[in-house]
Amino acid sequence: MGERITLAHGNGGKLMHELVDRLRIKFSNKILDEMSDAAELCVQKSKIAFSTDSYVVKPLFFPGGDIGKLAVFGTVNDISMKGARPLFISLSLIIEEGLGISLLDRIMTSVREASRRARVQVVTGDIKVVERASADKIFINTSGIGLIINTKRRIGSKAEKGDLIVINGKIAEHGMAVINAREKLGFISGIKSDCTNLNVQAERCIKASKRISVMRDLTRGGLATALCEIASFSNLGIELYEKNIPIKGNVRRMCDMLGFDPLYVANEGKFVCFVDKKDASKVKRGMGKSAAIIGEVVSSHKKEVYLKTVIDAGRILQMPVYDQLPRIC
């Protein structure tokens, strides 16, 4: 029996990267090889960001969001991270036979509200229905394009030595909200998903500084995975200060109870900016009141993320392999 796809091939960690790479080689070109969340295209002198993403989430509705909102904001955010203003998106639905029409309506209302909020238009779409058990209720794919805002320094995937790392708020809320709802863990914690559009904040950052090298939204795999990717792609090290990383007390406690490391838990409304030291505080202001400077790009620890813990000891953050599982006692 040959090797098979496991759930770990889709979790944002090591196995997924290997799979992505295996596929990327087949289509290798300059744009794809950049490996960023959105492709940067040049069409008749206009610079365009183009991105696509599929959304599967269980349950479909969770505190703070739902699959419709995720599908719009996910693609909007991928485009925004390229330094672009998102304009148009497509909407493709794969629906399992038996889904309630009223449920579909609720999801579509959410799509409408989210696209209004992010100021994008749904301009094309598709529907497929599959037999019962061939899909889980509904899967959504969205693709989108946006116009890249002109900046001096191109926003790409490579950070530069001396860049400071700024985050726009508290981590790990989406992942913990979804797991609480899905597994009916019954934490009466008030933890809500942070699911939101980042285009407004991202544009504010770009206007505040022309010295941003990388912007990255933190989705599955969490902060640690995103930083591991950037360190590796930039061929530089990242030093991260644990005490500066914003996290809500109740989220941290829930992570502690389950034995999860919040640095690896998913977010849907958080991003990091890698920016020249000089402009870090300006960018931080643009990222809102919960923003924080959490680290720095260094030439030591090449391709690694080095975490300075609260007691000033250090450890390396690894790219994850398997999803985190709750501990036993």
């Binding site: 502690d256 007691i311 392999v321 398997y322 599982l325 006692c329």
Partner: protein, 336 residues
């Protein structure tokens, strides 16, 4: 000056110590070694094989905690069985398994239970609930362990000789601090019951070294906000009404008398071991894996030839690399 060797018994402490980087800050005179307190790691290979054999039955839904899924038995893991189409499900608690039984009356639902005194009372409560509700298709495969018999072996051990114990906070919430008193006095090993915050652990290390220096062989509870001397009496009562002590095999430590739990006669009908008669292939020890020595604190992960090479979180050979509380996993993830 003589080196002081402290053992953190509990897997959650092992993880917390690695995560905060505590070992790197300790003076060279203090050594921390990990003990046999990770429930996944100490589960004998034969017990995993037995669960795997039971999961092969057509009408069985096998359930267990997340980490147990990936631990390899002699040949395969429960995760492999799921991959082959057998109905193996991950649950967050034993009650989830009972609910599965309620909604799948045509199937026999087996819960493979591992863990220490922290986990077993909740399972006992679930068995009582199943009895009350007359649920007949629910079974427990009891691979539970009691920490004190293992702790006593560690206290007696010459290699490595432990000077003091950082004792598990969660277990002690249930058992109380009393059971440690005998061990501390009899073997001359001070015990400090610690919480799981970095500050809790650091405080406990300071306290423990202080006790060792003064040759005070007593039990101190640093985790006062949760642990009482008598523990949680109600949980103890529930546990003792459903389970009784039995001999059991630990990975790495072998057979330890009265260190496991089996269902009492009046609840024996929930015993999966009795319901499913399976033949377990004879356990062969994997030659190069030193999980056994690691569980005893006799060796550290980096002394294993397989560590980080043939044995990684992706392709774990031994359970210490699989479990999120395992010593090898902690070492690989945070200290490598």
């Amino acid at each position: 000056m003589k080196k002081i060797r402290l053992m953190e018994v509990c897997g959650t402490h092992t993880m917390a110590i690695a995560k905060a980087g505590i070992k790197k800050l300790l003076p060279s005179g203090i050594e921390l070694v990990s003990g046999p307190g990770c429930p996944v790691c100490v589960t004998a290979q034969g017990d995993i094989d037995r669960a795997i054999e039971i999961s092969r039955f057509d009408n069985v839904i096998m359930t267990t905690f997340g980490d147990m899924m990936r631990v390899p038995g002699t040949k395969e893991s429960l995760d492999d069985m799921r991959g082959k189409g057998h109905d193996v499900r991950l649950v967050y608690s034993c009650r989830d398994a009972l609910n599965i039984a309620r909604y799948n009356t045509g199937k026999k639902v087996v819960f493979m239970g591992v863990g220490f005194e922290t986990t077993s009372p909740t399972v006992a409560a679930t068995v009582i609930e199943a009895e009350k509700k007359g649920i007949r298709n629910f079974f427990v495969l009891s691979d539970f362990k009691l920490i004190f018999p293992a702790l006593e072996i560690m206290a007696k051990s010459e290699k490595p000789a432990i000077d003091g114990f950082i004792c598990p906070g969660h277990v002690s919430v249930i058992t109380g601090s009393m059971p440690y008193e005998k061990i501390a006095a009899k073997y001359g090993k001070p015990c400090v019951i610690a919480g799981f915050e970095t500050a809790d652990i650091l405080k406990s290390i300071i306290r423990l070294t202080d006790l060792i220096k003064r040759r005070e062989y007593s039990v101190v509870t640093e985790y006062k906000r949760a642990v009482k001397r008598s523990g949680n009496r109600k949980a103890q009562k529930i546990l003792n009404s459903v389970f009784e002590k039995s001999d059991t095999t630990w990975r790495g430590l072998g057979m330890i008398g009265k260190s496991g739990l089996r269902l009492k006669n009046e609840y024996r009908r929930f015993d999966a071991g009795g319901e499913f008669r399976v033949k377990i292939p004879r356990t062969k020890r994997r030659i190069a894996c030193i999980c056994g020595d690691i569980l005893k604190g006799a060796k550290s992960p980096v002394e294993c030839k397989l560590f980080g090479k043939a044995c990684t979180p992706r392709k774990p050979v031994g359970p210490c690399m699989v479990s999120s509380e395992g010593t090898c996993a902690a070492c690989y993830k945070y200290e490598k």
